[in-house]
């Protein structure tokens, strides 16, 4: 099986969609002539033309809103927002329109839009370019939130996103575009709401997604050398969430740690911890812990930035404290 990058995996899906469905078109800042700020759409303008690949002004709100309107009229737009940080300028459209139209209209009008954006920190880009924020979108009923961690995730989940009749917030990770993995050549779909058991284990469950999955996996590798067996779950989607997989794992290991890049207070880890303690209370040997980003705006300085993100050493220390 070929090994390709996360970026290339996304490209394969976008190309497939543009070729197979005339309703699909792409909009975003610099996705055409520039080739995309993360080079995901490089060459697409040339291959598919201006009608299908539209460079937009820097106007996130109207671009997302226009995508929503086009979806209301029966097309299948994909909007690329350069980063999740800039999605805040479109949050009125995403939350007040996209998530609610199907409900408010009593089922008359749905919004099959895919909104892609890149989140995450680690490249010393400063506080306004380094947020995660996935919990904000996962909080909103009516949205679906997808967080691929691997190239295999990216291709399959993006295919499913285009099938979905609802607004899908597809959050990529800036640090993962160059990561590599085995990806089948043919088109395939990965279902939403189904986590992957990335690594089987018996002593503790590490729950991660997107960037944090890899920290969890690396921590698990190191702990294995000391005879501690970690089960690592890759959530793949936050909404819908694969609660069954989480609970099944915790019932097996009796211990859980959520690993997340995002700020801890009020973050998605809190939701997972709440679910586990409500439904698997009697299977817990101790409280669910969260290994999260520090509750600070992300600093520019490299060491400070790293200290603000969950590291393998933090995870390892937590696991040792538990078992």
């Amino acid at each position: 099986m070929p090994e390709i990058t996360y970026r290339e995996a996304l490209r394969q899906t976008l190309r497939y969609q543009l070729r197979h469905d005339e309703r699909v078109f792409l909009m975003g800042e610099d996705i055409g002539a520039y080739g995309g700020s993360y080079a995901v759409t490089k060459g697409f303008l040339h291959e598919f033309g201006e009608r299908r690949v539209k460079d937009t002004p820097i106007a996130e709100s109207v671009v997302v809103g226009a995508g929503i309107g086009a979806a209301m009229a029966g097309l299948k737009p994909m909007v690329e927002l350069m980063t999740i940080n800039f999605s805040l300028l479109a949050i009125d459209q995403i939350v007040n329109n996209a998530s609610k139209l199907y409900y408010m209209s009593n089922g008359q009008i749905n919004v099959p839009i895919v909104i892609r954006m890149a989140g995450g920190a680690g490249s010393q880009l400063g506080a306004q370019h380094s947020q995660s924020l996935e919990s904000w979108y996962a909080h909103v009923p009516g949205l679906k939130v997808v967080v691929p961690a691997t190239p295999y995730d990216a291709k399959g989940l993006l295919m499913t996103a285009f099938d979905d009749e609802n607004p899908v917030i597809f959050i990529e990770h800036t640090a993962l575009y160059t990561s590599k993995g085995e990806v089948p050549e043919e088109a395939y779909r990965l279902p939403f709401g189904k986590a992957e058991v990335f690594r089987e284990g018996t002593d503790v469950t590490l729950i991660g997604y997107s960037g944090s999955l890899h920290q969890a996996a690396r921590a698990a590798d190191q702990l294995a050398a000391d005879g501690i067996s970690c089960e690592v779950l890759n959530l793949r989607t936050l909404r819908p969430l694969d609660t069954d997989a989480i609970l099944a794992s915790v019932r097996k290991t009796n211990r859980a740690i959520v690993v997340e890049d995002d700020w801890q207070f009020g973050g998605f880890g809190a939701e997972i911890a709440a679910i586990i303690q409500e439904r698997a209370f009697d299977d817990l040997d101790g409280p669910v812990l969260r290994c999260s980003g520090a509750d600070v705006p992300t600093p520019y300085n490299g060491a400070l930035e790293q200290a603000a993100l969950p590291q393998e050493t933090d995870i390892i220390r937590m696991v040792r404290g538990m078992v």
Binding site: R19, P57, G65, A66, G69, Y102, Y103, M104, I109
Partner: protein
Amino acid sequence: MTSITRQDAPRGASDGPPDRTALLRTMMLIRRFEEKTAEMYARGRIKGFLHLYIGEEAVATGAIAALRPDDYIVSHYREHGHALARGVEPRRIMAELYGRATGVSGGRGGSMHLFDREKSFMGGYAIVAGHMPLACGLALAEQYKGTDRIAVTFLGDGAVNEGEFHEALNLAAVWKLPVLFIVENNLYGMGTDQSRVSAVTDIYKRAQAYGIHSEQVDGMKVVAVHDAVARLAKRARDGEGPVFLEARCFRFRGHSMSDAELYRSKEEVERWRPLDPITQLQQTLLAEGAIDAARIAALEAEVDEVSRDAAQFAEESPQPPIESLHHFVYKERADA
């Protein structure tokens, strides 16, 4: 390859000079319907917010009569008039205001969120200017599909200072989207006189800054509005890009039912009375002999009955079942 099926656009009632008696009836229906909703709100049958269109009837009536039935309409929260003018059933609008299952939005939207997809009435929205990007998107979709269907969006004078207003105008202009923006300038954004908060009060000039063909019209004269919209809609339909119309009008009631109108004087409101669009058209038609007092009385009785019937229908309609609370949060694929 999934392709787009193109349908021929229906010929609408928009071609040719307007039927002025029909315009009069529509305005009178809107007026009486709004009075009835005001009564029912005061009696506690309608809850939440209620924004009346009284005084502004000529804008919705004239504009929508000049459009095709399948041109999209995207409105704001003062939308009952637009819905009625588009032909959404009065009973179903009233039932929606009462929150009943028989309402256009199943009781889940309320006064500010009327949706009737079959009539291309794509919603009322509560976020000021938040709906304008949607109109751009609907227009974009039709342009993409190669049809000559246009999108029309109504907004208030309070919307023209929002960022989304400017973003929408710019995008429409730069992509030459077939969208018609109609500003209903009733001079007050809720309780604030427009001149206190807008750096340029001739709103139509703002659109010109984006290179958009833009006009101003007396929004109290229904025929003038109709003619302007017919002309502008054709431009948009012919691919000449977006168009903008500022209709200067006046609302005779407060912003909403809780507005005590402390921000304007009674004298000012009375000054606008002779310009009531219904009065103006009735006088014109009477003077021309195109209509007589008996016909007007008959129309009054007719719209009164429609409004009364709508309220009764709403009153007798069932509530949506509690079990439906979680319906329509997500749409499942039909063939999943």
